[in-house]
Symmetry: C2
Subunit: 132 residues, 2 copies
Amino acid sequence: MAGQTQLLRIDVVSGIPAYRQIVDGLRPLLVSGALRPGDPLPTVRQLALDLGVHFNTVAEAYRILAEEGWLDLKRRRGAVVLERPSPDRPDPSAVATLNRRLRELVAEMQAAGVSSDRIARELRARVEGLGK
Amino acid sequence: MAGQTQLLRIDVVSGIPAYRQIVDGLRPLLVSGALRPGDPLPTVRQLALDLGVHFNTVAEAYRILAEEGWLDLKRRRGAVVLERPSPDRPDPSAVATLNRRLRELVAEMQAAGVSSDRIARELRARVEGLGK
């Protein structure tokens, strides 16, 4: 339900564009089924207000998620979650890019002083989460 | 050595700013020791030329890595890798942010159709990599 989007946060100092943060924040809710087919998302204007960003920023995020097949965009800038079949066969270059980013993220954690044990625990927790 | 930076790639369609991609691409080389204290990095102008970006983009990336303690910026926009002690105690909010991004990345892989088995394998490979 729309209440899930209250979990979204925009980190203004991260250097990552706000629209990208909205996309990356909503996608796990869509993948996990916390947002389900038929669920309405907040209107662009409402979510922009909640997050303190320009409404074009939210509109761009919704547009990207619609292109990925997650959302049906409605008039007056609303959106409804779609049933989205998982791609049969991932794009190999997408896999390579995502692996690179996984390496980068681990390096960033190490650089921030997170211990190897702690990082290993977090990675294993994500492996566990996949089983569910 | 400077040759390592030839591994850097800028993905212009990713939505991630180029300076951020340079930072994220160099950090694993610094964390892993592929780039070692005393190693010179290419000048801002040279790396900008290699990557096809504006030299201010590279200068911004070097500035961020210098703030993180990785680089000593030289005159004429060169840079040398510094000995950088790992922080004793990671910032808890940094840990939370990095965990969130790990969840987001896994969701992105799932959305791209990468199988759970494959994602689990990649996560475990990163756990293995930590031991080295």
